[in-house]
Symmetry: C2
Subunit: 379 residues, 2 copies
């Protein structure tokens, strides 16, 4: 007879994702709802470029609210998504100590910044609250609204990290006004991913208003509607499977082969650009297998053209994509579980992708995109 | 009107702490209950000294069960509870990849080892399962049975870490047979802590059978009963407050002033030795305030003598202890929340400890312990 104790508990998750225009307007009280107010402190990590553009405005907000904020600049980009960057922030936090519960850490920046800062919050004293304020389209519709955080390690994306629910996510689309066009297109890669794999209505909205929304930086009603639909769809997918108990995830669409491409071309591909390449490869493979009707594949390609996303097909590598599949098999516990579209907004999961299929998608996509691109250039 | 989404979910925790004598006896099937069996892999981090003594036996068990185990030696001790040690293990894990869900990482060793390895498991791919097998008394009754993990950072204990529930904790008291006596006494510091602050019955059991249990390395029925009572008491405290939502925690007894002493004397104090010093200071302060009757204080001191714990009172420093209080105030969100005994097995929490009280406890304890110690040495 063996003594055996069972430890049973449950940890509740409850956070808000809030549309927050003019978040740092001096009289906007929203941010003050989270954490202790006047006389308290905030450790605020801000994207370097964002600080140059909005630093004064951000400082003024904290001053107006009597909160002692330490603004810590951070240079974004995958290069800085490292153990070193996390440790450097942890060291700065030691020198600006905060209370464990009511002085949340703030992360103001793109997906890399919010991922690293959320990992800092997850690990400092085994977890202190944090608030994410995305300033890129990638952050707004994808990186900042979920609970995944972490850093790259040994050439593997997000290898060290945590699931850490934020205290809140505050979405101020005003930051998109100053975002470089390449980064707007980068975020559009994730929106296209979501539309193709789960949301035919979002896909149609992109066909109708996507290009104009990019051009106007989502400042129109149609642009805001696109953002809201993308956020809503992402949260619908994430919420019932927040800790990835189910390993077959629609939102992993675009996140299988892309891992190898990002590792291979760290200096040339943004995350959303790699995701878009993966989406195109997946569409080509699904079409080649007869899973996806040719008409649907053509609609995806046409949308990518219409949005001016100009994928760099020359960066595709069958070898790198196949290597990424091997790691994803470990990550998905022994099976490929690759989402493949079966119609616009519908999908299935497959476990039997072959390297030859990946290789043959490359010339197909080259013919479809590079030739068109060259024709466009010639015009 | 602002759009606002609420993300609500709940993460269940459910793990077993199991008395597991003869865990690595070749025909013991217990460990095989956790994770996939024949043909699977295990990343097994083993205390260096434990590997020398039990490595062959451990290897033989995995061979007999057809599991490909990579035994990774790790040198324990607070010196190795670092970001570097965690990163080095993470690198080795990259070279012995495991499936994300059904190939749990094993941690076989003392409290430092299980804390670091659990942090590795918490952060690798945002969390993979792990099993803790403590080989020290400290691990058995304290470090291994909860969900806290992490590393020291910038001179602060456990500053970077996580709450990571294990898949299981397997308690094989057989490892205590080869544990150096100093480490047995070290673990006894935590048992005394628990007895004083919440468990008068455990305190009486220590008075009756504590010294003999140390001498026989807990191999008697009375020794096993002490272990079971300590584990049971610790789990009763931890389970309803697993994530420390309540910051006033009885099990923080002995864990306020000790942080400063451990930092100051990293090379001379084991964790349980520092905890015992904190317990004695707390008893002296509580007694000095009239919170704790003098008779109860004397019983604590007499028990410490009877167990031969020989606290090194010369290591006490009022300054270091007061500095630790400052950090604990941050950790306990703005208040001291220091547990203080009011009787054997009863306590209250105080917020108004003064540096002078800490300072005056030192000569009091010196008189009580060093003089006695010197008399003992002279005999």
């Amino acid at each position: 007879m063996t003594t055996r104790w069972q430890v049973c508990a449950s940890r509740p998750v409850d956070y808000a994702v809030i549309q927050a225009p003019q978040l740092f307007a001096r009289d906007n009280p929203l941010l003050a709802e989270f954490g202790r107010g006047a006389g308290s402190r905030r450790f605020v990590v801000v994207d370097d470029a964002v600080q140059r553009l909005y630093g004064q405005r951000i400082r003024a907000w904290f001053q107006a609210h009597g909160i002692d904020a330490r603004l810590v600049p951070f240079v974004g980009g995958e290069d800085n998504k490292t153990v070193y960057a996390w440790r450097a922030l942890a060291r700065q936090l030691e020198n600006f100590p905060i209370h464990r519960r009511d002085e949340p850490i703030l992360a103001i920046g793109g997906g890399v910044l919010t991922d690293v800062v959320a990992f800092l919050a997850a690990t400092h004293r085994r977890g202190v609250p944090h608030i994410k304020i995305p300033t890129t389209l990638m952050g707004y519709v994808d990186a900042a609204i979920g609970i995944k955080c972490g850093v790259n390690f040994e050439g593997a994306k997000n290898r060290l990290g945590a699931f850490e629910p934020p205290l809140a996510v505050l979405l101020d689309a005003g930051f998109l006004a100053s975002l470089p066009m390449r980064h707007l297109r980068n975020g559009m890669g994730e929106i296209v991913k979501l539309a193709v794999i789960r949301d035919a209505a979002l896909f149609r909205a992109l066909e109708v208003a996507g290009a104009d929304s990019l051009a106007t930086r989502f400042a129109t009603a149609a642009g805001q509607h696109l953002l809201d639909t993308a956020v809503e769809g992402m949260l619908q997918e994430l919420t019932p499977n927040l800790y990835e108990d189910e390993l077959a995830r629609k939102v992993d669409f675009g996140h299988t082969f892309s891992y190898g491409l990002e590792a291979l071309h760290a200096d040339r591909l943004l995350h959303g650009e790699a995701v878009l390449l993966d989406v195109l490869v997946s569409v080509a493979v699904a079409s080649g297998r007869g899973l996806l009707p040719a008409g649907a594949a053509h609609r995806v390609f046409a949308l990518v053209d219409a949005l001016g996303l100009a994928p760099d097909i020359g960066l595709l590598s069958g070898e790198a994509m196949w290597a990424a599949v091997q790691d994803r098999i470990l990550h998905r516990n022994g099976r490929q579980r690759i989402p493949m579209p079966t119609a616009i907004g519908e999908c299935t999961f497959v476990d039997d992708i072959h390297p030859a299929e990946l290789a043959s998608a490359i010339p197909f996509l080259r013919a479809r995109f590079q030739e068109r691109h060259e024709r466009t250039v010639e015009c």
